[in-house]
Every structure is written in structure tokens, then in C-alpha cells.
Amino acid sequence: MKPQTVKQAFLRSVPVMAGYLVLGAGFGILMRGAGYGALWTAAMSLFVFAGSMQFVGVGLLTGGASLLTAAVTTLTVNARHLFYSVSMIDVYKNAGAYKPYMIFALTDETYSLLCDGKTPENTAPEAFRFLVSLFNHGYWVAGSVLGSLLGAVLPFSTAGIEFSMTALFIASFTEQWLSSKDHVPALTGLTGTLLCLLLSGREHFLIPAMGLITLTLTLLRGREEAKV
């Protein structure tokens, strides 16, 4: 692998680093409090690798949920991942041997770093995307294990650092807005989700929002494709 590819992939992944280390640590601390040590934490961060689902998962573990409940909960909390995969089919088309891992590791944050399909100059695109996924996975596992082992010994308050994930999505949204002339998809996502949040409340709005977005974009297909 070219050093330039590794370097550029690392730079691309930096915005996710702080958020994953800290949120991962939060997860490790939560698991410790629920009676699950570093090995359990590491296993979950390695194999599930889905931030919000893992936090929900702590509740499933401590509540002794049934396997069916766990399956249905995961299905609803993570349904949005179907969206990510659908829109990465073309981008990941030529990923070869990297592809299975890249699909496995396609989190919200990795998606927002890679979904524009662009890669820096002088890098191997497939290796670049693979490494961004791998670095992010590494931050998440490292953060959660550190949180489990060290607990709450940090010398300064990190309250509010979880906003870095929100900031990442806002920056991606702004960047896509600036680099595209067609703002209809972006506005559909923003207003459709806001509408569903207001109508169905903050617990259950994501799945209706995904339905509304898909429906709206499907109805607008003729108009949208005429623009290109």
C-alpha cells in the first residue's frame, strides 16, 4: 500500500477519531457499570460495530431480553443501514477483496466520509476506502476498551464532546450543499425527517422518515433525472 494512501486515509478519518474514542469510552463505562468487562466490550465493538445499537444493546443484555426481542430491536434501530448500502453499491463496485470488510464496517460516520465517492489524488481509491473504514473501526474498539479499563479517570471534563459526531454530519451536509447545484435531495432529507420527528415523536421517527424520503425521491425521479 502506498504511504500516500495510508496518510490520506488517516487524515480523512481524523474527524471521526475524537468522537469514536469518546463515545466508545462512554460505551465501555456503561458496559462496566452493567457488569460486563473489557472482553465483552471489545467483542461487541468488534463484531456489532454500530454505535447507537450498542448503547441500546447494553439494556438488552442487563434486561435479559429474548433473542427475538434483540433481533427485532436491532432491525428497527439499524434499518437505516439499508439506505447506506443501497447508495454505496456503485461506489464499492470495484473494491474486490476489501469489499466484505468495507460493507461490514459501513457505519453512519464512515458513510458520511465516503458517500460522495471522491478520493484524494495519488491514492489507490479502494485501499483508501478500506483504510478509512479500518481506522474508524480501530478508534471505536480502542475507545470502548479504554473506557472499560480506565473508567472515569480523565483529568478534564469531556462533556459535550459527543457533539463532534453531529458536527461531522453538519459539515458533510454543508459540503454536499456547496458542491451540488441540485438541493432537492438534501432538502427532502432535512424536511422529511423534521416532519416525521414532529408527527411521530423522537422515539419512532426514523423509519417513517426513511419511507417518506424514499417515496418523495421516487416520485421526483423524472424531474431529478431530467436535470442531470
Binding site: P15, A18, F47, F49, M53, Q54, G57, L60, A65, L67, A70, A71, T74, R80, H81, L82, Y84, S85, V86, S87, M88, I89, D90, Y92, K99, I103, F104, D108, S112, C115, A159, G160, F163, S164, T166, A167, F169, I170, A171, S172, T174, E175, L178, H183, P185, A186, T188, G189, L190, G192, T193, L197, R202, F205, L206, A209, M210, I213, T218, E224
Partner: protein
Amino acid sequence: MTHSALLIAVMAAVTMLLRFLPFLIFRKKTPKYVSYLGKVLPPAVIGMLVIYCLKDITPFTAPFGIPALVAAAVVVGLQIWKRNSLISILAGTAVYMLISQGLVYFDF
């Protein structure tokens, strides 16, 4: 403990299923409709995630979403100005932390 391990295995398997399913279904040839969705979904989904992250804002009770909205404005402003995501994210997060920890005040 066996049950815990099984629960984790189920969460991992269902998450993987969701991530792999579209790739498996459209393995051979991507239908035009799916390619279209692949093109228009990214901005829409990022918009959805922005709202998702801001869902816990309470517009009618303190702090009225002020830390998040001020920090969000910083991110948008810097991104338009510098076009550098790393700078926008670091500055926005720092602003959010300062306000929400009460080190900087924004009250009117």
C-alpha cells in the same frame, strides 16, 4: 453469560444482514432505479442524520437548544468559508463544549 453471548451474536448478525442485503440483492446488475436512489440518497440521508442528532433539543425549555444551534452555525459558517471539514468540526465541537459546560455564556 451464554445468553449474553447469544444476544451479542444476534445483534451482530442482524446488523450485518442489513448492511449486506442490498449488495447481495443487486449483486449482478444494479437496476436503474437503485442507481438513481444511490445518487440522490446521500444528501438526503445526511440531512436525516443531522435532524437525528439534533432530536433531543428542547426548544421551549432551557437551554432552548442554544449550545447546539450556535455550534451548528459555527460549523456551517466555517465550512462555507474554509471548505475544510476538520476545522469546522473541531471548532464547532469546541464551541459546543465551552457553552454546554458553562464556560462561555449565551443568554439574552
